[in-house]
Symmetry: C2
Subunit: 714 residues, 2 copies
């Protein structure tokens, strides 16, 4: 089940090629590396910012045209308007699902579980390819522009990560766009740093929230985090913010079509509620509880539906996927067009009171949509949130000074319908984020609670929009279980620092309630896709287990220092392990473990054949010095390297020998057999390892290392 995954390895493999490379490095080389790193941070920022601008521009323009066309046609006939609306949506969704199924299968979904996995140490095949990037960008234009119940924020994070990873390889190898000159980030560790930057850049671009982006990356990458990296990540996010801001101010002059104020999430609610009283804490806590419940339910439902899709539907090939997405598109269009038709229009509020046009002028974005209303001074409250772009709908739900704009009935209808649509849409083969749908759902019930608060606490200065915002935070908290970064993102996208304590309260409640039922959305989905995430803390029972117990009755596959090629090949064929201890005879005849050799390195050696020797005795270290560079051992970024089945060796070759000593990692981390598994877990997780040797207790201590020994100056 699930895509092929493989662990990443953040350890430094100190084999001879590495040591040789280290020895060649001078001062200039370091300066150069640092400069390239910062240059890359800059480029990632610019790239992600431009991608975000492009996606937003396209989406805003497509939906702008769509609504303008529909609104102008329904002046004459509603049925033709409906048809046009459905067809435009269908065309957009079809293009998206077609791109994904035929060109970039890894671009389906939000991509955040996979990126989270990558940063946790597991590589899913294909998520960081060039075609995935292209598929993600164009696919999400289609799916979001086509009005499905999904957002573009998750895909933007994935886009940022792809851009970063591609830059790290110096371009795409397959499409011959790469440059040797920039080809210097070769270890998993360097790549992970870049992907971290890209991930933060994606969040920063999606929400125009540079600090939130850094914290998002940080919350997902809590192991192995250095302040140097943090500064670079922050720089990238700031670059994104600058790019996005410049593009928007350039667009202000009207050069970008329908891309006006909208597009980039910023729901400014700075003219909202200034103060809150103690009585309001109860309804806010209730919002938190609702968020926790609905969020956990969302995770559970999407889990079932994804399972069902995987095991029945998507097995039947891409035609079914395309048909499914198109069907959902038609249903979504029909509901969002049809339901508002059934709703009675309400008279406009006194326009003096709030300064918002009602109904909104034709061809504009805004609040108070006049849709299927008999009189002129009327608006349709359901259409205002349902028959609108999601960004506008959220702005309308968050809007301050618009008391009683929505009836409870409309909000409830919308909540039920949209929640169902969001669940059903989840898992179709299009790029899809869950942030914006989550905000829609949350702000609907938040506004509902706000209406009751306005009714019951009449004398307080309550704003329904503030409650909508808190509802949005609560649903996201209840579903995704993010904490600090979500808080900061909410503050940044609403531009209102005063609500921070309230958002935090709501998040505390909703996360606690949600955690009671199940794991977060991304964790659930990662598990389903077979991405084994390691939590930041060991489980409780691991404290009472030893490392030896964790290995159970494992029969360790080892190699001697000089191994027959034939044996090597058959051992590699007979098991799936990716690392093997290498054992040698010491002077006194006792055995000594001399290191760890990786399957991927062995395959490189078997393929090149230059190191085969006829003698079964160790060669001197000199013999191999010129045959391999460090870059020969670099894993291709697509993660699927050669496998042992691809290697063809003649009978003669199989009789030769191979001395593994120069190619192994001479000092993998070891733990004594009775160390508790909790401590082993910390070691593994904190250092981002792939293999740990469990060894017998040592016979003596050759030295002690304390802080004093590590304070050496050169």
């Amino acid at each position: 089940v699930g895509a092929p995954v493989e662990s990443l390895d953040y350890e430094v493999i100190e084999n001879y090629a590495y040591r040789e490379q280290q020895a060649q490095k001078g001062k200039i080389w370091f300066t150069y590396t640092i400069m390239v790193k910062w240059l890359f941070a800059l480029l990632i920022g610019i790239g992600t910012g431009l991608a975000a601008v492009f996606i937003n521009l396209a989406v805003e323009n497509f939906s702008g045209w769509k609504y303008t066309a529909t609104f102008s046609i329904i002046q004459h006939t509603y049925f033709a308007g409906y048809l046009v609306y459905v067809l435009i949506n269908l065309a957009l969704v079809f293009s998206s699902v077609f791109i994904v199924t035929h060109f970039a299968p890894a671009a389906a979904g939000s991509g955040i579980p996979e990126i989270k996995g990558y940063l946790n140490g597991v590589d899913t095949h294909g998520i960081l390819l060039f075609r995935t990037l292209v598929g993600k960008i164009f696919g999400s234009i289609g799916s979001v522009g086509g009005g499905l119940a999904l957002g573009k924020e998750g895909p933007l994070v994935h886009t940022g990560a792809c851009i970063a990873s591609l830059l790290g390889q110096g371009g795409s190898t397959k499409y011959h766009l790469n440059s040797k000159w920039l080809h210097m980030f070769e270890s998993d560790r360097d790549r992970r740093d870049l992907v971290t930057c890209g991930c933060a850049a994606g969040v920063a671009a999606a929400f125009r929230a540079p600090v939130g982006g850094v914290l998002f990356a940080l919350e997902e990458v809590t192991s192995w985090w250095r302040s140097h990296l943090m500064w670079r990540v922050f720089f990238t996010s700031a670059v994104v913010a600058v790019v996005v801001r410049s593009a928007m101010s350039w667009c202000k002059s009207g050069k970008c079509g329908h891309f006006g104020s909208g597009g980039f999430i910023i729901w400014d609610i700075s003219d909202g509620q200034e103060d809150y009283s103690f009585q309001e804490l109860l309804p806010m806590a209730i919002i938190g509880v609702i968020g926790g419940l609905l969020g956990a339910l969302f995770n559970q439902l999407t889990l079932y539906i994804t399972k069902w899709r995987r095991s029945y539907l998507h097995k039947k090939g891409s035609r079914v996927k395309i048909f499914e997405a198109c069907l959902i598109s038609v249903i979504t269009s029909t509901i969002s067009f049809g339901l508002p038709l059934l709703r009675k229009c309400s008279p406009c509020p006194d326009s003096e009171a709030n300064g918002i046009d009602c109904p909104r002028p034709p061809g504009m974005d805004g609040n108070f949509v006049n849709f299927f209303c008999s009189k002129d001074k009327e608006y349709n409250d359901l259409a205002t949130i349902f028959f609108n772009t999601q960004d506008d709908a959220i702005r309308n739900l968050f809007s301050a000074k618009t008391f009683h704009e929505y009836s409870a009935q409309s909000l409830l209808t919308f909540l039920v319908m949209f929640y169902t649509l969001a669940v059903v849409t989840f898992g179709t083969a299009v790029p899809a984020g869950q942030f914006v749908p989550g905000i829609m759902i949350g702000s609907t019930y938040g506004r509902l609670v706000g209406m009751f608060v306005v009714k019951f606490y009449k004398r307080l200065n309550v704003e329904e929009g503030t409650y909508a915002l808190l509802g949005a935070a609560s649903f996201l908290g209840g579903s995704m279980r993010m904490t600090v970064s979500l808080c900061v993102i909410m503050v940044e996208i609403t531009n209102n620092l005063k609500l921070l304590p309230l958002i935090m309260l709501v998040l505390l409640v909703s996360k606690a309630v949600g955690d009671f039922f199940n794991e977060g959305l991304y964790e659930v989905q990662a598990r389903l896709r077979g991405i084994p995430l390691l939590d930041s803390r060991p489980k409780q029972f691991m404290r009472n287990m030893t490392a030896k117990e964790a290995c159970k009755s494992q029969q360790v596959v080892c190699f001697p220092r000089v191994v027959r090629v034939g044996e090597l090949v058959s051992a590699l064929r007979n098991n799936q392990h990716n690392g093997f201890p290498v054992v040698d005879q010491g002077q006194n005849g006792e055995t000594v473990v001399i290191g760890l050799v990786l399957r991927s390195h062995l395959i490189v050696l078997l393929q090149s054949k230059v190191d085969f020797q006829s003698s079964p005795f160790p060669c001197g270290p000199r013999g191999v010095l010129n045959s391999h560079k460090l870059s020969d051992f670099v894993k291709p970024a697509s993660s699927k390297g050669k496998s042992i089945e691809d290697i063809q060796l003649s009978e003669d070759d199989l009789q030769l020998y191979l001395d593994l000593a120069p190619f192994l990692n001479p000092s993998p981390y070891v733990v004594p057999e009775d160390m508790s598994l909790a401590k082993v877990y910390n070691l593994f997780r904190q250092l981002g390892l792939r293999h740990i040797f469990v060894v017998p207790r040592p016979s003596r201590v050759l030295g002690m290392i304390t802080r004093k020994d590590l304070l050496l100056e050169e």
Copy 2:
């Protein structure tokens, strides 16, 4: 040189007492622990918030009275005004230095290097005691209220850390304020988590910057950071923000004397510059360079002056310290009163243009101070920044729409004088922060550059206040070398997100320039105080060294499993090591390392004597089960436990034996002898260890641990 320091140990010591305690724990216990942790986070937030409010209230009122009194007296005679001004300042500074020297010596200075050390893994004696807390609070009221060139922000961070640590012990042991009931955070690791919360709370309180607080704690504690902790830390900061905000809105009604708008740093520059053009990037980069140069110079000068103070002045006892502080106070008062007298007053600008009163009404805070001016509609630009509280001075320097308020000559005079004062004041025996002085210095030259920009780029929409802000950021960046957290703090204290990219640019430049010359202020000071900080990355040359080489020709002091008490005592007397390997005979006569025993645990055992036995053979594990609880081994928070010299043993006792097996840590981390020191460094730093054993290569591998083995479900 320096206070006695001792390493902290974040490792779990899995001795029998620990295992027994683990076995007793049930589900309820875990729920209880989690609740207590959150309760503590809440309490730390409230405590730190209240302490901050108290300090601010006191400082604002003292300086309010001081300036009111002085201004009303100088209506009659300037000399009497001068005397009153000097005497009030002197009294305040004297009280501060008296408290510090006679009651809480660890409260001197900013405390940030010590806290940074604590979070890095080194405990300085006495920094987290109750008396230090009290001394810090009252001392900083005196020193800041007394008008010295120092701030209250560093001390607030220290205050937060003290509150957290005291709460963790359930109160102060010495003053019998502790409660057994809350006494549950007994390992260094739990304490460090609390101190992290406290540190963030302190920053949040000092700058009203909750996000900045979290990031500050994060930048200083990059090793060992979990997202769970982050959420708690953030919660604490938010609580602080709520407490401070409530207190301020309570004070708005005038119940708090002179504590009006001032006190809590928020220099709102939201009506400043909206846009910037490319030509401005050059002067901004110049500000960055100046900041780097002046900051690095500041670090160097303060290093020399602190060295000199330590080796000559402060050796002579506390009288000299008191005299020194008083002298500096008199000099500071004289300069800040006298220099503005020499300055010619300028005519007020057209009051319509900017809406700020000029000159400010008597008895008020504000801009355009009328001091020693002959005419009514005049102000003294030097007095506006020099003869004022620091908060007001900064607000005046940051002020927008006040072109040409200051003459270049005044700014230069102030810059030189204040820089000198800040350097000279640094290291006196009073609580002292460097943030506010840094902001003063930086904003002065920033404004100076801004003046030139206004002059040369006439047509641009330039605000001098924005340049002052950038100058402040550049000086702090050049001196303290903080990055992300400084950026966020600057944004939060000026409430202006739009300047983020500019602040970042300036910080990038100033940090790079500063790093070229020396280390950051806190690192330099920590080194001087003998606090050995471990950087987050190993040094380059460590990649070419092995662990064995780092231990050189160390003769490891080991103990056998059953050791004669006499031998134990003499071994402990003869060396200073804090951890000892314990070696036993295996079944076949070969030796086996069975664990690590800590000096502090041995001393507890020697003192209690209950485990002494007359037979030289191992006792069964049953024999000891009831003699010790885990809490017996807990280190007292004051870090200075009993030493071996305090132990009195009779001749008979010395002949007995002690079986160490139940008390040792059976599985310390080990590294093979030829692992590169860089890898050992990472292990040590990332896991927060205190001891690592260097052992021979293992003879065989009993098992492999990979990700799959750690994904166990119960």
